[in-house]
Symmetry: C2
Subunit: 188 residues, 2 copies
């Protein structure tokens, strides 16, 4: 059993080191990214989309060259457990998602995913073994075409000094900067 370039145990080690714990979602995420990598459309450069901010972005960041900081991974927080890898130029991509129909064969996995049991009644060992055993069998793939606005490279445009905070910011955001327009997450 391989997850992208790694053995299962190597991947588990990576996840613990980067994500802090072996979250079940990261294991499923590993299978999702692996299946997407095996079904890439033609093309040279790929970007990634995660449809949830929970767990899944870390699987993408560990297993592909796409990260939040290099801009090749975008998160659209739609709350769906799905990853799309797509060719940067034309937007042709493969979407891999957790298939709720297929999940029904794995009761502990299904109960965890749909939160059917309180945490203290869950059997973590059984859950992890079902996730590992199920592997890609609970996933489905779907060809997609990513909207053109997500295929162009982000351009920052000119940089200015904000007259309010004195920090540099992209002038396209208006004046003052977005932080001084009230969007900063801090108490005044």
């Amino acid at each position: 059993m391989k997850i992208a370039a790694y053995s299962y145990d190597e991947y588990v080690h990576l996840v613990k080191s980067f994500h802090g714990s072996l979250a079940p979602g990261l294991v499923i995420g590993g299978f999702i990214v692996d299946l997407a990598l095996k079904n890439l459309p033609e093309g040279e450069f790929f970007d990634a989309i995660c449809e949830t901010s929970v767990c899944l972005p870390d699987a993408v960041q560990l297993l592909t060259p796409c990260t939040i900081g290099n801009g090749w991974l975008k998160v659209f927080d739609l709350g769906r457990f799905a990853v799309t890898l797509y060719e940067k130029e034309k937007g042709k991509g493969i979407r891999v998602y957790l298939d709720t129909e297929k999940l029904k064969s794995w009761p502990e996995f299904n109960a965890w995913y749909f939160k059917l049991k309180p945490k203290k009644e869950q059997d973590f060992e059984l859950l992890m073994s079902q996730i590992k055993e199920a592997g890609p069998s609970v996933l489905s793939t779907q060809p997609v075409c990513v909207k053109p606005e997500h295929t162009v490279k982000r351009r920052m445009g000119p940089t200015a000094v904000c007259p309010s905070c004195g920090e540099a910011y992209p002038l396209r955001d208006g004046t003052p900067c977005l932080g001084c327009q009230g969007r900063a997450p801090y108490v005044e």
Copy 2:
């Protein structure tokens, strides 16, 4: 010269492996995160905020336990080169930012940051040596208090099956899921 737990060269190696290239912003980001870690307020658990999605989130993810997937790193795309580490309970934090006044002592660094020269006229070697030599001397710190809505743990609430796509999603998003409400980044 150390960047968090790493030597400069170890950090450069990490950056190349994770981010794909030694982007100047990741080197500055290393100094920013390092300075924030050295000025943490009291407390046991810390979350992180990045005020730009460009480069900086990867420095946080490499040098702290905070990642996008585990929810401890949040990106507020204000276009400012700043990181805040804050205590999870009360929101008391330290913000570290690139100080444009201090940057004036480093002409190549300043010209790169404010995009004063076309890329082909930039001297990459000189830029990187100025960034490394400047180190934390171009940064400033600021105590902040993060708004209470960002200190609470995210709760997903009940999960439902979307009647439109058949996938699982958080019921709080309404019906159908956000993807089927037109928020998916794909061409129909």
